[in-house]
């Protein structure tokens, strides 16, 4: 009897501990996903148009899953301490639903992480940047996003200023190659956002133009975002799996 009591108490303690961890991880997941959704780097317009806006859907799901995990963990703790079959059954079923949603979010984030290549952004930039007749508002947003990106990060194009030379583009249709080998935002700018030395920029003299590509500035935050949602979610789900198995075992042992 005493040994069985010890086993019960140990199992209860483990389950309570497991649920506490789930609750805290749920809060952390919510906080992380709110950070990503708030788009601190201003990259959402670029991702939206590459049909990769799903990575933001994954983050939105993560917010609600995190809150659900926190609420359910409290329910779980109460159910384990009271050894109530009904409460624990409700807990298990709701947890499984939450598990399914979080699984979808992780897999979406991991899949889209794979599709981020420089070529994807290059094609989008060439086709939409400074499009003279913007088809819809998203083209204007793409232009604005690229301008801010190039100014803030002192970069030009996706792989470099030569992107504008190697490929024709919507920009090239309205701006002659001799006057604008690359956009003015690629030049070293002063406080009024005017080129410091326009001739130096057009020639491509080191120091008067941005010679790096912007791909690192885009892929860095986006990769962190995708990995944060996918792998942190995966870790939480592995832990949740163990706690749920333990809860099922505990449930089947509760006398009615």
């Amino acid at each position: 009897m005493a040994k069985s009591d010890d086993c019960v108490h140990i199992l209860q303690g483990l389950l309570v501990f497991g649920n506490v961890v789930i609750g805290m991880c749920g809060i952390a997941l919510t906080a992380e996903c709110i950070y990503f959704v708030s788009d601190p780097h201003g990259l959402y317009p670029l991702l939206k148009t590459t049909e990769n806006g799903d990575i933001y859907a994954a983050a939105w799901i993560g917010i609600f899953v995190g809150l659900a995990l926190f609420a359910l963990s409290i329910l779980g703790i109460i159910g384990v301490i009271k050894a109530s079959r009904t409460l624990l059954l409700v807990y298990i079923i709701l947890m499984l639903i939450t598990f399914a949603f979080e699984m979808a979010s992780c897999i979406t984030a991991a899949t889209h992480q794979d599709s981020f290549t420089p070529e994807l952004f290059l094609k989008q930039m060439l086709e939409r940047y400074q499009k003279s007749e913007p088809a819809n508002n998203s083209d204007n947003e793409v232009t604005k996003t690229w301008d801010e990106l190039m100014i803030q990060n002192h970069c030009c194009g996706v792989l470099g200023p030569s992107d504008w030379q190697e490929y024709t583009s919507a920009f090239r249709r309205t701006h002659s190659d001799a006057d604008y080998p690359w956009p003015r935002m690629c030049c070293a700018l002063d406080a009024q956002r005017l080129p410091v030395n326009l001739d130096g920029c057009k020639l491509g003299v080191p120091g008067y133009y941005n010679s790096n590509g912007c791909y690192d500035a885009i892929s860095g935050p986006v990769s962190t975002h995708a990995w944060g949602v996918a792998w942190f979610g995966f870790a939480i789900l592995c832990w949740t799996f163990c706690v749920l198995l333990g809860t099922m075992f505990y449930w089947s042992g509760i006398e009615y």
Binding site: T111, Q113, A178, D199, L245, Y256
Partner: protein, 249 residues
């Protein structure tokens, strides 16, 4: 007649000497490295410092020609005429003259620290302007082109450099040629999908087993996890003493 003969003699004198062939080959600028060395319609060559130092009074012109037209170029064709107008290049004009300067623009020796280059094709404002035949307008195609410098005194050519090597400009590809098919699925994504699917399947199976086998409380006897009772009082009857008033009768 001697009066008319003199200017004629003076005019013929330089021609009689011939055009000096300077051993200088114009080339694309190698130092410093320029990103815009060649674009789709412009290219950059070095300025000819210390090349024309014997011709202080001359005007130095840049001749830009199609590669096939270098041998047929006539040095006496004057700049700014219909034979050398930029606006008619490349058809029917096969070589045009532009970017004129005096020796003062090309000081010798070259001042250190300055970037002194000639950007061929930078003037877009006069590209269609027929009144500016010496316009340094953007080149109409990828080439190949060759350039040389020609020094004119008055309208008489006195010195020329060699023709440069062939200069090819960049050709732009359409963005539709970029392949965005992606690199396939990474190992991480496959791992996440597989493992999560297996875990979810196990949980569902566990739930089914739980409900089927233990739903009708066939699991959980009194010997396993008992509910905590708020008060635990046990009464022990050590003797079989019962209150049996009816049995005494």
């Amino acid at each position: 007649s001697a009066r008319t003969m003199l200017p004629l003699l003076l005019l013929l004198l330089p021609a009689a000497h011939g055009i000096a062939q300077l051993r200088y080959k114009p080339a694309l600028t190698q130092d410093p490295r320029l990103e815009g060395l060649t674009t789709a319609s412009t290219f950059v060559v070095d300025q000819p410092h210390c090349v024309f130092k014997d011709y202080g009074d001359a005007e130095i012109w840049l001749v830009v020609a199609l590669d096939q037209a270098t041998s047929s170029f006539n040095n006496s064709a004057g700049p700014g005429t219909s034979e050398t107008a930029f606006q008619s290049f490349p058809n029917p004009v096969r070589a045009y003259m532009t970017l004129n300067a005096t020796l003062g623009s090309y000081p010798c020796p070259k001042p250190a620290g300055d970037i002194r280059v000639l950007r061929v094709g930078s003037e877009t404002s006069c590209a269609q302007d027929e009144t500016r035949p010496t316009c340094n307008g953007p080149l109409p195609g990828p080439g190949p082109y060759r350039v040389k410098f020609l020094a004119l005194e008055g309208s008489v050519p006195v010195a020329e450099t060699e023709w440069s090597a062939k200069i090819m400009l960049r050709t732009a590809k359409p963005p539709s040629s970029i392949t965005t098919t992606g690199s396939g699925h990474s190992a991480g994504m496959i791992a996440i999908t597989t493992i999560l699917s297996i875990l979810f399947a196990i949980l569902l199976a566990g739930l089914m087993a739980m409900l089927v086998f233990c739903g009708s409380d066939s699991c959980g006897g009194s010997s396993t996890f008992s509910k905590p009772e708020p008060v635990s009082v046990r009464r022990y009857n050590t003797h079989h003493v019962y209150d049996q008033p009816a049995a005494r009768l």
